[in-house]
Structure formats: structure tokens, C-alpha cells
């Protein structure tokens, strides 16, 4: 029996060596971006808005403040506020309004943005925003428990952010 154990050992040693050289993260397989450019992966639970797209700059609204991310930005993880993400490429700028989420800047100039919901400003109905803002304000003042009131405050923040985005666009 012991000679069986001895013959088994070399096989597992080889297996261990090949696993050490295996790639563990899919991001390592991705091509490095050209100098001065960011690669953006923008994903929602139901769709990949952008995947491996090279851009120049991404502006976003984070809890720690508004920031613009360029290539070689210091790696950071930012929690996003409901607000506009502006993706600036050579072909122009595209704006998405996100409900929140996270932006993760990697050392290799790959920016991953995760959000639950995102719409282009032209896909949002301004009258619906005004009506829902009024409804949320009404709820915030009349709510009896803390959780509902805070939920209404979250909605007010989101709807006001949309209205700011609309008025900034028209300037």
C-alpha cells in the first residue's frame, strides 16, 4: 500500500505547479488599454451597457464627491450617488443616469462600473419625474415610521438629481 502512496505524490505535485501558473482573474486576460485611454466595463444586473470600450474620461458623482477618472487614475473604489455618469470618448460624450452602485478603478486603467439601473437622459420622462418628486415629498412629510421617511428622502434626492441633470443639459 505504501508504494501506491509514493507513486501518487508526483502527480499531485505536477498538478499543483500547473495550477500556480494558471490565470485566476478574467481581467488579466483582457488587452491592456492603449496609452492615455481607459477601458470601461459598465454592467447592470440585466445588461452590459459597455464592455471593454476604450474612452478618454469618465465623470461620475460619488458619495465622496464628484470625480473625473482619466487613464492611470489611482486605484479606488467609489460608492456612486444617484446621478449622471458621463463617458467621454473620441466620438463624443454619452450620459447615463444611474440609481447608484459602485465604480472600481483598477491599476491597469480598467474601470468597472456596476449599477442596478441606468438610463440615458432622453429615456427619462421629465413630467413623471416632477410628479414622482411631489409624491415623494408628500410621503416624506407624512410618513409615520423612520424607514419609510428615509426611503422617501432617498427618492427625493434621486429625482432632484435627475432634474439637475436635465437643467445642466439644457444650458
Amino acid at each position: 500500500m505504501s508504494f501506491l502512496a509514493r507513486t501518487l505524490k508526483p502527480a499531485t505535485a505536477l498538478a499543483r505547479v500547473s495550477r500556480l501558473s494558471a490565470r485566476f482573474y478574467a481581467s488579466e486576460a483582457a488587452a491592456a488599454p492603449t496609452a492615455g485611454k481607459l477601458v470601461v466595463n459598465f454592467a447592470l444586473p440585466h445588461a452590459a451597457v459597455l464592455k471593454g470600450v476604450e474612452v478618454n474620461q469618465v465623470d461620475m458623482s460619488a458619495v465622496s464627491g464628484d470625480l473625473g477618472i482619466l487613464a492611470d487614475h489611482v486605484p479606488t473604489i467609489e460608492q456612486l450617488k444617484p446621478g449622471v455618469i458621463d463617458i467621454i470618448a473620441d466620438s463624443g460624450s454619452t450620459k447615463y443616469f444611474v440609481s447608484g452602485g459602485f465604480a472600481i478603478m483598477n491599476p491597469n486603467s480598467v474601470l468597472n462600473i456596476n449599477a442596478i439601473e441606468a438610463f440615458k437622459l432622453e429615456d427619462i420622462d421629465p413630467q413623471a419625474v416632477a410628479a414622482n418628486l411631489a409624491e415623494s415629498q408628500r410621503l416624506a412629510s407624512s410618513a409615520k415610521d423612520e424607514a419609510t421617511k428615509e426611503a422617501a428622502v432617498v427618492e427625493i434626492e434621486l429625482y432632484e438629481a435627475i432634474q439637475n441633470a436635465f437643467s445642466a443639459k439644457s444650458k
Binding site: P82, A128, A151, V153, I162
Partner: protein, 70 residues
């Protein structure tokens, strides 16, 4: 830095879904059919101890609009 919603007893899952639902409500009507497919999803969780799952519960939604009576 503590968030007001966390002080009110909400967790991030509830907060992010409140914001997501609020945004879905104001998308244009053409998109609402597709959006309806995304509603009604919930997160289920169970606390594990010594390799055994505890009671599983669903993270409750904090509702801000009255339910439509159909």
C-alpha cells in the same frame, strides 16, 4: 460617515433597490414593458453557522408607493 438610511435601520440592499425602483418609475412609457420584467425580484439570505444554514429570509422591500389594487 454614517448614512441617514442606515441610521433608520435600512441596509444597502434595501437602499439600492429603493433608488432603482424610483428610477424605473420615471423611465419613458415605451420602456416600461421591459422594465416590468425586472420588478419583483428579491434577495433571499440565510445565516450559516458551523456549516449549517439557518432560517432563510427575504430582504423586505421598503415600499414608498401604495400597491395598485388590480
Amino acid at each position: 460617515m454614517s448614512f441617514a438610511w442606515r441610521a433608520a435601520g435600512m441596509n444597502y440592499l434595501q437602499y439600492s433597490s429603493i433608488a432603482a425602483r424610483a428610477l424605473r418609475r420615471v423611465a419613458k412609457t415605451e420602456l416600461q414593458a421591459e422594465i416590468a420584467k425586472r420588478e419583483g425580484l428579491a434577495v433571499k439570505y440565510a445565516k450559516w453557522d458551523s456549516g449549517k444554514a439557518g432560517v432563510s429570509a427575504i430582504v423586505p422591500n421598503v415600499e414608498t408607493r401604495p400597491k395598485a389594487d388590480n
